[in-house]
């Protein structure tokens, strides 16, 4: 690996000052499961690596914060997959976090890092989109809250400035009953990146939100407002037709890795229908247990 300097700030102001000083020559280190690979293969060249792990304000905790759940920048996938509050209110996110990489990766990889890395195939991102998550960034001008749907630009690119870092991901607690699920298609069982990754939430108000990744430069969020997808009595044929209309923005690259574009598109629709069915079943279960 090419040599770089290492800084280990102990508070957020110091971290922001380092980023302001070094700009794009600095890279932020959280879990390192993406960054260290790319520093080693040379696709990222950093002069300074700023490690967030000794910043007291950025512990790995998940906090209840007045109707919102705040996931700190150092919270790893293992902790998210195991958190009972996330399992109850944001089940799609819990399921997505539990399939990222392997145990060893999930023990290091952070949600904030997954978001900042902005891979089109990131499993947690569709879940964040359907759950209406906000990304909280801090920079020289202070804090700002960015809706997750406005955060991603294209593969590896976000709206984050070179002098900003993500300090938390916030999830608004649902105000109505919901059923949510994450599904994906991989080449093999176990440890693999997704050829299609998709999350779905069906609300008691009849609104269905779906988000999918690995089918274009960034994950996309779509909404079915009129209750067709959420209707347990509507036919699969009608739902497939609706899904086809909703998924019109999918644009898998012809040079895409892991699976061809035709296969990805076909599987997107299959997984979409399965996810809607499962989310409806989970919503019904919650209605019954009330």
């Amino acid at each position: 690996m090419r040599a770089f300097a290492y800084e280990r700030p102990t508070d957020l102001d110091e971290a922001v000052a380092l980023l302001a000083e070094h700009g794009p020559r600095a890279r932020v280190l959280a879990g390192g499961t993406d960054l260290i690979i790319r520093l080693r293969d040379g696709s990222i060249r950093a002069e300074v690596v700023v490690d967030l792990k000794r910043i007291a304000e950025l512990d790995g905790s998940i906090r209840d914060d007045g109707g919102r759940l705040s996931i700190g920048a150092r919270t790893v996938m293992t902790a998210i997959g195991a958190d009972p509050r996330i399992g109850r209110d944001f089940q799609a996110l819990a399921e997505a976090a539990a399939v990222v990489g392997s145990t060893q990766i999930r023990n290091r990889a952070t949600l904030a890092g997954n978001v900042c890395n902005a891979s089109p195939a990131a499993d947690t991102v569709p879940a964040l989109l359907i759950h209406g998550a906000d990304v909280v960034a801090v920079g020289p001008a202070g804090r700002r809250r960015i809706p997750s749907d406005e955060f991603f630009v294209r593969s590896g690119v976000t709206v984050l400035g070179p002098d900003e870092l993500v300090c938390a991901i916030e999830l608004p607690r649902p105000t109505i009953r919901e059923g949510s699920v994450h599904v994906r298609r991989t080449r093999r069982r176990g440890h693999d990146l997704a050829s299609v990754t998709l999350a779905c939430v069906v609300g008691a108000d009849g609104v269905t939100r779906l988000a999918y990744g690995s089918l274009g430069p960034r994950p996309l969020l779509v909404t079915d407002e009129d209750g067709l997808l959420a209707d347990p009595a509507a036919s699969d044929a009608a739902k497939m037709q609706r899904l086809a209309a909703l998924f019109v923005g999918a644009s898998p690259s012809a040079r895409s890795m892991r699976a061809g574009p035709e296969y990805r598109l076909a599987m997107l629709h299959v997984l979409g229908l399965r996810a809607v069915r499962e989310a409806i079943a989970r919503l019904a279960l919650r209605s019954g247990s009330r």
């Binding site: 690996m1 300097a5 069982r189």
Partner: protein
């Protein structure tokens, strides 16, 4: 700006103070600076698990951790599993079932299995498959490896309190 740094690292219960280059990984420091070559270098992208160690009791790919990130931590490598020359029940089980073929992945498999059993002392077969999904075996010896882990879990449960041994390893207990 710092390119080298002094770190404190406890490895298999023994404390070390080391002067390291900050761009060196924990894997490189374990193998090259400390001579602990049981931990293997293989894919270097977090796919194969041959470099798995316990960092404060948690399994990690040491090729994706900078050594400087481990400053102040307790590390357990495969060399730390046996106590006073007595093999860990997992090591005994791997031998008994012939789980090692070429052997290259085995240190990582053993350390990953140690973490798995510390979390879940009586895992189902599915939990074992998921627990070692990050450890590839190019000989394809998965059946024997899974059998060995399930066998070791049974032995450790039958031995009662001795089952706590894996716990203390997985938590990086320095008192060993």
């Amino acid at each position: 700006m710092t390119f080298a740094r002094r770190i404190d690292l406890t490895v298999n219960g023994r404390p070390h103070r080391l002067e390291i280059a900050v761009h060196h990984t924990l894997l490189e420091v374990l193998r090259d600076d400390l001579g602990l070559t049981g931990t293997k270098e293989c894919c270097l992208v977090g796919e194969c698990g041959a470099c798995t160690v316990l960092l404060d009791g948690i399994s990690v790919d040491s090729c994706l951790v900078l050594a400087v990130e481990a400053d102040g931590a307790e590390v357990t490598t495969v060399e730390g599993l046996a106590v006073d020359g007595r093999l860990h029940p997992l090591q005994e089980a791997f031998l008994a079932t012939g789980a090692a073929q070429c052997g290259f992945c085995i240190p990582g498999q053993l350390v990953a299995a140690t973490a798995l059993l510390a979390d879940d002392p009586q895992p189902t077969r599915a939990a074992v498959e998921e627990g070692i999904a990050g450890n590839l075996c190019r000989c394809g010896g998965y059946e024997q490896i899974i059998e060995a882990i399930l066998g070791a879990a049974a032995v450790m449960a039958a031995d009662g309190p001795a089952g706590g041994e894996a716990d203390s390893v997985a938590r990086g207990d320095p008192g060993r």
